[in-house]
């Protein structure tokens, strides 16, 4: 019996992709992305406003929590399109934060906290990491105080931190690791932007000094390791789709240029040295699409996602870095300039591979999952 894995898009999904692509092409001028890459809090509010208006921020969030109730596949489609234009919007942060709340929160917490994120009214992000290499290190502590908790510590590499209204923070307690929802405006909270390789996805540091939150801000009374993992996996799969979209766009830019750039009296794409780079880029982009789509389709299947998530991280990271790097090479001198778009993709490619844990750490997870 043939293996049944479905990759095909429905008519509605194809329409969604076209709608989002047309909207982003009309709204996001690559020059504005380049300008945003000089700032510390890149945020294309026009694009975000459009995504919010189209109801795309809470696309896969269940309707009872203010979302549109679609599967993650629809959200993945939006990420592919965002990746094609390196759009600076906090969607990744938003879906990771909501995934953490949905995985760890009580019914009333979910009902209260998720709808504003799903509607785009509140911009939320996930604050997990502190150490560049030891991702499990958590020196941030939460102590029980009267009427709630007091949090102290520093979270780093927080995506979209400079633009976030709310943080879902991982902290250690006497009872184990817990997740807390902290408003950016709470006394004792400081937010400092971190200069980033890919400034189109701003990173920042979240400082917490005796930050007092209500009891209700603690998302779960039990261990939250699985909820954190789930939120990160949702992020990895969204990024994989973004990587696939970025790799595809790099391929298109390279092929277009190889057809129109003439040297030695010929289009450079007629030289096998250039043509073969394009062919290899095509292979990389197609592989990225396959594993990213597979991961999006299996994100809620506990057994298969143990494989499909690290698989997507491994393949899409390498594919995008290769495609973006070769795009610079094929463009030659112009590809190295600030005025060209190639560097936006190259920076995005490398920094995405490093986000949410190294590629190697995911290969270790993959090795566990496949039994080697």
């Amino acid at each position: 019996m043939a293996e049944r894995i479905t990759f095909a898009r429905t008519e509605e999904q194809t329409m969604l992709a076209t709608t989002v692509r047309d909207f982003l092409e009309a709204t996001v001028d690559m020059d504005t992305v380049r300008e945003a890459s000089l700032t510390e809090n890149a945020f294309n509010r026009e694009a975000w406003g459009g995504l919010v208006e189209m109801g795309l921020v809470g696309l896969h969030i269940p309707e009872q929590y203010g979302g549109a109730g679609f599967s993650f596949i629809e959200t993945a489609i939006v990420f592919e399109e965002l990746g094609r234009r390196v759009v600076p919007v906090p969607l990744l942060s938003s879906i990771m934060a909501s995934a953490a709340i949905l995985a760890a929160g009580s019914e009333s917490q979910k009902e209260m906290l998720v709808p504003p994120i799903a509607s785009g009214e509140s911009t939320a992000t996930l604050a997990v990491f502190e150490h560049a290499h030891d991702l499990d290190a958590c020196a941030t502590v939460a102590n029980r105080v009267e009427n709630g908790w007091s949090l102290t510590g520093t979270k780093r590499y927080v995506t979209d931190a400079p633009n976030a209204d709310q943080f879902v923070v991982v902290a250690s307690t006497d009872e184990g690791t817990r997740l807390f929802v902290v408003d950016a405006s709470t006394a004792g909270v400081t937010i400092a932007p971190t200069p980033s390789l890919d400034a189109t996805r701003p990173l920042g540091e979240l400082g917490l000094e005796d930050v007092h939150v209500d009891s209700d801000a603690c998302l779960s009374e039990s261990d939250t390791t699985a909820a954190i993992r789930k939120a990160l996996d949702v992020g990895v799969v969204a990024l994989a789709q973004e990587q696939a979209g970025g790799a595809q766009r790099c391929l298109e830019m390279s092929v277009e240029y190889a057809k129109s750039r003439y040297q030695f009296g010929r289009a450079i794409g007629s030289f096998q040295a250039v043509k073969h780079m394009c062919a290899d880029m095509l292979v990389a982009a197609e592989h990225a699409k396959s594993v990213a789509t597979h991961a999006a389709r299996t994100i809620d299947d506990a057994d298969e996602s143990a494989i499909s998530v690290p698989l997507a991280k491994s393949v899409c990271s390498d594919a995008y870095i290769k495609a973006a790097g070769d795009t610079i090479q094929i463009h030659g001198g112009i590809g190295f300039t600030w005025e060209h778009d190639a560097h936006l993709y190259f920076k995005r490619a490398k920094s995405t591979a490093l986000l949410l844990g190294s590629v190697n750490s995911y290969r270790d997870r993959l090795a566990d999952a496949i039994g080697i």
Binding site: M1, A2, E3, I5, T6, F7, A8, L251, V255, A258, K259, R266, A267, G269, S270, F271, Q272, V274, K275, H276, C278, A279, D280, L282, V283, E286, H287, A288, K289, S290, V291, T293, H294, I307, P310, L311, S314, V315, D318, N360, R363, D364, L366, A367, I370, G371, I372
Partner: protein
Amino acid sequence: MSSSDEATLVNKTIDTLLEQFPPAETEAKAFWAAQFDAGLAWVDFRIGDGGLGVSPSLRETVTRRLSEADAPIWNIAANLLGIGMGAGVLAAHGTEAQRKRWLRPMFLMEEIWCQMFSEPGAGSDVASLSMSAVRDGDEWILNGQKVWTTLAHISKWGMIVTRTDPDQPKHRGLTYFIVDMEAEGVDIRPLYQITGEAEFNEVFFDDVRVNDDQRIDDVGAGWGVAMTTLMNERVAIGGRIVPRNSGTIGAAMTLWNESGPSDIATRRELARLWAEVEAMRLTTLRAAENMQAGVPGPEGSTGKLTWAALNKEVTSFSVEMLGLDGATIPEGYSLEPTSYETREVERVMSPQRSFLRARANSIEGGTSQIMRNILGERVLGLPGEPRVDKDIPWKDVPRG
């Protein structure tokens, strides 16, 4: 007939075949005879030629249902060049007499087929081939050499492309024949390879006489027939979906678990390779799905190229995992060129053999360089290299 009517017809015919010739109680050859006569050999062929004149997409239904019923379908693999490629050539270009003469014995495994295109001087540029065929009354006289011929030594018939007009540009002076491999003047020799085995043959033609009724299509139309053959090859070989953890990556995993070095870097490298192989596998699945839905995309053309590169990497990795043992040859496997007959014995599937055999993956069936040209030009639309042999008589083109 509508497509659902066609599917009903095929399924009903399969029901009848399985009922009248239960696979468990029927000899393979008798089953194939019945299958051919029922029109289930190649369902898309004409009635009488082993077909029912329905859509070729229904071939999959036949293979799947017969395989589920444990019917003998191994003739397809055992006579692949015939059933998978030659049959398609006969259906598209053969006369009625030729189809009647060759199709049934081919399907019944009474006559094995081989294919002779490549020559020592014509590899990637196969249209530049030199094998000459000169007309002599009702016959043609063939002289020259073919190479990389699988199964030639057990074949009855060979598909061959010859040059009948050296004054024409290379594609135009070719003519296609079916030759008797047992005819006088045909000399078949094993071609020993890097692994010590001889999977292939060299075939020498010394004044071999072929009757004109064995010519396929017109004189000078050989290139078109050769293209049909290769398209059928892609249908027969391409798009195979293998299970997860199979093939050389599966062997590498077993090797790791049984005797691997267990350091973190090697484990990560194996995981990376596994991921790349799985990405290729999922891409093949996606391609098959899109093909089925009638929207084939670029994902259908990348498999050969990636498989070749990955299989070389994986097999090299496995040999490295053996440590110093990787530099030795395991018991039961010899690198010495084996005798002609012993290549039929079961091969020792050692990591060393797989490692050596993998070198051919990026050469056979289109080199990886040619595959990249095809992806670049046909899929991505990049311009071709300037051609120096275009519109020039074949005899005036430099060769070497």
